[in-house]
């Protein structure tokens, strides 16, 4: 097993003391260590936001991209080198707000990669505006009278769009979270791990105690993750009881499995860039 220390970056996280993202970082490091994946074979891609700073704080390859664009960057990298373990990370604003279009289609495509969303129901880095997962009627800096929109359900959205591994964790439940992430990375297909990762500075509503009082583990209630309808029902459970754990898991061929250019199994990046004149002459025949 590769020591968890191998995944510790010399850069200390700049998150607020008590931020939920610390728990997510630790869980990810633990999962990678237990899965025995060498740090240089891991690419962590993020967007912009507090949680999107994560690639800087884990010792692996990283790409800290634009706001909302982690998934297409991750997809491009995965398609170019499917030997890499590709993990996208970010927040709820990044993934379910500005990047939600990419989220929908990435679920559908079933690339073999993992998406960890540190969901704190608020825009933290921009100092506290409403996010797509902010509940209705919550007052934030941008909604002083309370939000008019209802919250988006990332779990239901992922299920609807065809994600093949759909889970929710809580950074206060680190062991379960590490296992969910481990399962996500091991899963062959697109895996979403939405994580309740409280913002201690700007979200005074969805706090640690708030979550602790409400969350329960799906595995404790014998939820069957192969049952899509049951998963969908659980996805909308909110209020006094909120489920965490593995909602749904199914095996479906991945995008990489079916892509013609990858049929030989050799990653694109390992294929030559030098074309022979014969190859080119054949392609040129249609110009004759």
């Amino acid at each position: 097993m590769i020591s968890i220390k191998e995944f510790v970056s010399p850069i200390k996280p700049d998150w607020c003391p008590g931020c939920g993202d610390y728990g997510v970082l630790n869980a990810l490091q633990r999962a990678l260590s237990e899965l025995d994946i060498a740090p240089h074979n891991v690419l962590v891609v993020s967007g912009i936001g507090c949680s999107s700073n994560l690639p800087g704080f884990i010792r692996s390859y990283g790409f800290h991209s634009l706001h909302g664009r982690s998934l297409p960057i991750a997809a491009g990298a995965k398609l170019a080198n499917h030997a890499l373990t590709v993990i996208a990370t970010g927040g709820d604003g990044d993934g379910y707000g500005i990047g939600v279009g990419h989220f929908v289609h990435t679920c559908r495509r079933n690339f073999d990669m993992t998406y960890i969303v540190m969901d704190n129901q608020i825009y933290g880095l921009t100092t506290g505006q409403a996010s797509p997962t902010t509940e209705k009627d919550i007052r934030t800096k941008s909604t002083p009278e309370g939000t008019i929109e209802i919250a988006l359900s990332p779990i239901a959205l992922a299920l609807t769009c065809g994600a093949t591994y759909v889970a929710r964790g809580f950074s206060g439940e680190s062991l379960q979270l590490a296992n969910l992430i481990k399962g996500a990375i091991e899963h062959k297909g697109f895996a979403l791990v939405d994580v309740f990762s409280p913002c201690v500075t700007y979200n005074k509503h969805n706090t640690y105690p708030w979550f602790k009082e409400r969350v329960y583990k799906l595995e404790d209630e014998k939820h069957d993750p192969s049952n899509f309808d049951a998963a969908m029902q659980k996805a909308f459970e909110w209020g006094n009881r909120i489920p965490i754990g593995l909602f749904y898991k199914v095996d479906r061929s991945t995008y990489e499995d079916e892509e013609i250019a990858l049929r030989g199994g050799v990653p694109l990046v390992k294929q030559t860039v030098y074309r022979t004149p014969d190859e080119l002459a054949r392609a040129m025949e249609e110009f004759l």
Partner: protein
């Protein structure tokens, strides 16, 4: 009196769905195979069925630079085509139409124009074959050997079985015989071809082929006219050769996927039109900031906004120059000819990887969608320069963004042991560590900016100097870029043959720009005329910005149709005669034969399905 010319023009017009491809494209290809130089421009609308399509095919004994604006033979698949263009047929030419569909009155054509009506049903028994039938009559009157065209009928219909092939060949022969019996040989003839074997391709296909030759392994796109045919070419030809082609949900995903693939180490390209490029802009800066090599093709169409989806324009230059916030290194190449579509694409990949920057290829509809003959392409010596790649790291710690004299830092790909780093869009230090959040480091910021911007110096040195083409002591220098170059080239040829002295300034390498070198050339000009397809004269403004030189005269076009050679030449003759000091700004508009009070509401086919 039969007259032999060095070139002639055939237009095939009809509604979308009338089979213009089977007739017009095959005529272009057959003429190529017969050894002629060919230029085929398809003027079409943004509808799947209905609307108006007219393929302009000009064939010649020598290189044909533009689609021309002279009409010798018109194949009219619908009445609209006759209404619009019949009057423009030159004396000695002919009009071909199907008498079952509509009547043509003698006064609809100019004196000396032959009108050949084919009773298609009586002749070949199937209206669906009217396009092939009319081509049979055309070949008979025009006096060209139909062997290659018939060969193409066989190729095109082979999949449908021998009987269909034979029925089409019979339709062709019967119509030819009818034209022989009822018409007279056409007076406008083209001289014998040199019989040389040439290629015929579109600009977009050659950008695709250039990418393939350059070792591109990843191409992403979202459908958008006039860039979609690159996507189609890559799907058809690239996929057979191990290129992964990904259609994404929008152009933002398109370019980010391309950047992701490039970051992982493959040669990667994406393509779009102006509107899609607008969506891509933020990521152009992302590629530059993360020092990721990516090639982006922008095929311009008529703007602004959705604009003229199927029409040509050159009004995106400022968008390309200004794309994305902040200062960063990038390169913009603007091919002007089909062979340049191939060669600049290869160059773009090398520049992108050598300097780890985004490289933009600027094209436009007139260049990208026309089919033209070319003598050949060098596929035996394709230069591939991957830049500095690190495959092994031992000893000294690897610094991904290490400062250097050239501004380029050796690149290790994800998966390489001992080289771990993060590429960030935030400002970062040589190790890739973000310096923008907790504290900003002004000195480091300047160091990293300088490092990145220094790349432009190397690129400039590498770029060839701009050139003047034509006589050094010209009375007039024509200034242009992109597809307009060939219009300038034909104008120069025509004018200089008549004793005028005209030369051309049309650089391919637009960014970074060799301003001082360009200025030297422009200072030699006695008189200058910029010809560009936009409203504001973006290229002239760009030149002024980069050289301080103000072009005197301006000829512009923003009606969506390409420049027409006779109109351009006559404008230049006038300028030369007046020796006007300028400035003059003139815009030209094509005559598409529409009635004064044209309204699409009253037009048949207006129920057509619209697409973009």
């Amino acid at each position: 009196m039969s007259e032999t010319h060095t070139d002639l023009s055939v237009w095939v017009g009809g509604a979308a769905g009338d089979g213009i491809a089977a007739s017009g494209e095959s005529f272009a290809k057959a003429s190529t195979r017969s050894g002629y130089h060919v230029f085929a421009y398809n003027s079409y609308q943004s509808v799947i069925r209905g609307g108006h399509v007219c393929m302009h095919i000009r064939i010649g004994q020598q290189r044909v630079w533009t689609h021309g604006d002279q009409l010798d033979y018109l194949v009219a698949l619908n009445q609209d085509t006759v209404a619009r263009y019949a009057k423009r047929i030159q004396a000695g030419g002919a009009l071909f139409y199907n008498t079952d569909k509509f009547p043509v009155k003698p006064e609809q054509v100019a004196p000396g124009v032959q009108v050949i009506g084919l009773p298609v049903m009586a002749l070949v028994g199937n209206q669906l074959m009217q396009n092939i039938a009319l081509m049979g009559a055309l070949y008979q009157v025009i006096g060209l050997d139909p062997a290659e065209f018939k060969g193409l009928i066989r190729e095109r219909f082979a999949k449908k079985g021998d009987q269909i092939v034979q029925t089409n060949l019979d339709a062709f022969d019967k119509s030819a015989e009818h034209a022989r019996a009822h018409g007279t040989p056409g007076d406008i003839r083209v001289g014998k071809s040199d019989g040389k074997r040439r290629l015929i391709a579109s600009g977009n296909a050659l950008i695709g082929f250039g990418a393939l030759a350059a070792g591109c392994r990843f191409y992403s796109a979202y459908p958008m006219t006039p860039a979609s045919s690159i996507l189609h070419w890559m799907v058809n030809q690239g996929s057979k050769n191990g290129v992964l082609v990904k259609q994404a949900e929008d152009e933002i995903a398109v370019i980010n996927m391309a950047i992701g693939a490039a970051h992982a180490g493959v040669r990667s390209m994406c393509g779009t039109a102006g509107g899609g490029f607008a969506l891509m802009t933020e990521a152009i800066g992302e590629a530059a900031m993360t020092e990721t090599p990516v090639v982006v093709v922008e095929v311009q169409r008529g703007g602004p906004s959705t604009g003229l989806p199927t029409k040509t324009e050159q009004a995106d230059l400022f968008q390309l120059l200004g794309a994305s916030q902040g200062d960063f290194p990038k390169a913009i190449l603007a091919p002007r000819t089909l062979p340049e579509c191939y060669s600049t694409t290869i160059e773009a990949f090398n520049l992108a990887e050598k300097y780890q920057i985004p490289v933009i290829i600027s094209s436009d509809l007139y260049l990208s969608e026309r089919n033209e003959t070319l003598d050949g392409l060098d596929i035996n010596h394709v230069p591939v320069d991957r830049g500095e790649l690190v495959t092994e790291v031992n000893g000294a710690p690897y610094r991904r963004f290490k400062d250097s004299k050239t501004g380029v830092s050796p690149r290790a790909l994800p998966g390489t042991p001992n080289a771990i780093y993060v590429s960030a869009t935030d400002e970062h230090d040589e190790d890739g560590v973000v310096i923008s959040d907790v504290f900003t480091n002004p000195k480091m910021r300047v160091k990293m900016m300088d490092k990145r911007m220094r790349k432009l110096e190397g690129i400039l040195k590498e770029f060839p100097d701009p050139q003047l083409e034509g006589p050094k002591d010209a009375e007039l220098t024509l200034v242009g870029w992109g597809s307009t170059y060939q219009v300038l080239a034909e104008a120069m040829q025509i004018l200089n043959k008549d004793g005028a002295k005209v030369n051309i300034f049309a650089p391919v390498y637009l960014w970074p720009f060799k301003g001082a070198e360009a200025r030297k050339l422009l200072d030699r000009a006695k008189m200058t005329l910029a010809i560009e397809a936009n409203y504001t004269g973006q290229f002239s403004k760009f030149l002024q910005m980069e050289t301080g030189f103000g072009v005197q005269h301006h000829l512009r076009k923003y009606d969506g149709e390409p420049f027409e050679i006779r109109a351009v030449v006559s404008h230049i003759r006038q300028l030369l005669a007046n020796k006007s000091k300028g400035p003059t700004v003139v815009s030209q508009v094509s005559d598409e034969g529409l009635p004064e009070n044209f309204s699409p509401i009253a037009m048949p086919g207006s129920e057509a399905v619209r697409v973009h």
